[in-house]
């Protein structure tokens, strides 16, 4: 899922500075799971905005804010509430915000900072294990991603700062190459440690990405 968190309220307020009437949009998927833009947060945001003197014309929590057609349909269904607002405050990831801005002439305000594609470790705890590199190496790295879990993205083994399996960048974290090494030891394999990996092909990961499925 896409992990996001709310911007400080003061920043949201300052983005809303020029307007008084606001419509709120949340997302029922990722932003709900990370408690950044679900029903509860939309309700809380409404309270806070009213307390700050804003007029909230209405709100909607869209099933998947990244789905552009669905967003436009749901907003049309809200008719006057949306039309009556000067700004749309979106508590969804950056993709969700742009589903909204793509189909509306209203000022669209992003209420969240979008952080990473994350795994849910347990309730309320998320970690990044894949950074969408476009050329998955997991089959060569014992199923653990050095591109993401190593802050330097090193493909050929630990840097000189690794010691006792700890990462030089964050002493509380295990070096990804230590994790890979332990996993391989369990399996009695070592090829992923000894084969030199070539530089990544960044042409596989150009921005903006796009994909069209063959019919």
């Amino acid at each position: 899922m896409i992990v996001s968190k709310q911007k400080p309220f003061i920043e949201i307020l300052s983005a809303l500075e020029p307007v008084s009437r606001v419509f709120l949009i949340g997302c029922a998927k990722c932003a709900t799971v990370c408690k950044a833009g679900g029903e509860e947060q939309i309700w809380q945001m409404q309270e806070d905005l009213i307390a700050a003197g804003k007029d909230v014309t209405g709100s909607v929590v869209i099933d998947e804010a990244c789905h552009m057609l669905r967003v436009q349909r749901d907003l049309r269904a809200k008719g006057e509430m949306v039309k009556g607002a000067e700004a749309l405050l979106v508590l969804a990831c950056g993709a969700g915000v742009q589903s909204v801005s793509a189909g509306s002439d209203r000022l669209t305000i992003a209420g969240l900072d979008t952080l990473f594609l994350g795994n849910i470790r347990r309730f309320g705890q998320f970690e990044q294990r894949c950074s969408l590199c476009g050329q998955c190496l997991l089959n060569e790295t014992a199923g653990i991603c050095p591109v993401t879990v190593c802050p330097k993205g090193l493909l050929n083994g630990p840097c000189g700062g690794m010691d006792e399996g700890r990462c030089e960048v964050n002493g509380d974290a295990e070096c990804v190459w230590y994790q890979i090494y332990l996993r391989l030891r369990e399996r009695g394999e070592e090829a992923p440690l000894t084969a030199i990996k070539p530089p990544r092909d960044f042409a596989r990961n150009l921005r903006p990405g796009s994909l069209k499925l063959d019919k």
């Binding site: 083994g157 840097c159 000189g160 010691d163 399996g165 960048v169």
Partner: protein, 299 residues
């Protein structure tokens, strides 16, 4: 045609003919005045065989090491240009290397680089387009007259490449395959992190010797117990053992004791290496005291 400066490496000649070498490092200035840098390097002339010029050390912005390294070659002081993968992508690394070759800078130490967050530009984009192994391969490819996309070069360099090693890091089984990769990718010497345990250096040497790579063991001058504690805490890959800290703590003159410790470690390392790399931490004038009696010609 302008002929590039000749690329020669007395470091290579000495290592290949089994001369025990001494290297030291000098940090380039934060700024463009290389006066003090040059003074320091000149004072090392004759005392060391080559001088490492560090590359934005500790992820702090300084002058590109290429300029001071080139100034050294002009004065007949042999530089080892440190090159990290942190700040340059594969294109910038290659063009920097070609520039080094044109200026007669021959010895290159290939490094990943300390992470950005350790330095003074914590918000900068970390590059790490290549890693130290891939950078060594790149150097070998340039030496063979091509860039890494396969295009031929006008004038091929002849770099003498080395890499870093941390002989005391654990688990050793994990770092050894990377050392083997570095050797396979063209590293001809290892300059190691500071060593404190002759036993671990012996283990390292036994494993690395078959790779055909020369070993230059790192010896650090600890000036006080406080400094020893500071580097243990703040410098990645450097860990001063508690008994050494205690020895400095109890010393009447910590600096003298620090020199004695360094001399002792260097002597203990001598049988397991082909040279030592002295990190004198600003007290370069003490290098002769630490290296005394180690080199073949001194004996």
């Amino acid at each position: 045609m302008i002929t590039p400066a000749p690329m020669s490496s007395t470091l290579r000649e000495k290592l290949e003919s089994n001369h025990f070498v001494v290297t030291a490092e000098v940090c380039p200035p934060k700024g463009c005045d290389c006066g003090e840098f040059m003074e320091k390097a000149r004072s090392l002339k004759g005392l060391v065989d080559a001088v490492n010029v560090t590359d934005n050390q500790g992820a702090n912005v300084r002058i590109s090491p290429l300029a001071p390294a080139a100034l050294l070659t002009r004065e007949g002081i042999e530089p080892i240009l440190q090159l990290t993968c942190r700040d340059r992508n594969r294109m910038a690394l290659q063009s920097e290397l070609l520039a080094a070759a044109a200026l007669g800078v021959t010895n290159i130490l290939s490094l990943s680089g300390d992470y950005i967050s350790f330095g003074d530009h914590a918000g900068a984009k970390p590059v790490f387009d290549l890693d130290s192994v891939q950078l060594l391969q790149t150097i070998a490819t340039l030496n063979a007259g091509r860039d890494i996309s396969g295009a031929p070069l006008e004038g091929a360099p002849s770099f003498f490449a080395g890499a870093a090693a941390a002989p005391e890091a654990e688990p050793f089984d994990l770092i050894l395959p990377k050392l083997a990769k570095k050797a396979a990718a063209g590293a001809r010497f290892f300059q190691t992190q500071a060593v404190f345990s002759p036993d671990r250096l012996a283990r390292f040497t036994e494993a690395v010797r078959p790779l055909g790579v020369k070993i230059i063991a790192g010896i650090i001058l600890l000036k006080s117990a406080g400094m020893a504690r500071y580097i243990t805490k703040n410098i990645p890959g450097l860990k001063v053992p508690p008994e050494v800290v205690a020895e400095l703590e109890a010393a009447e003159s910590p600096l003298e004791t620090g020199v004695a410790i360094a001399r002792r470690l260097a002597a203990a390392a001598r049988p397991f290496c082909d040279g030592i790399h002295i990190m004198a931490m600003g007290r370069e004038e003490l290098i002769p005291d630490i290296a005394a009696g180690l080199r073949n010609e001194d004996n």
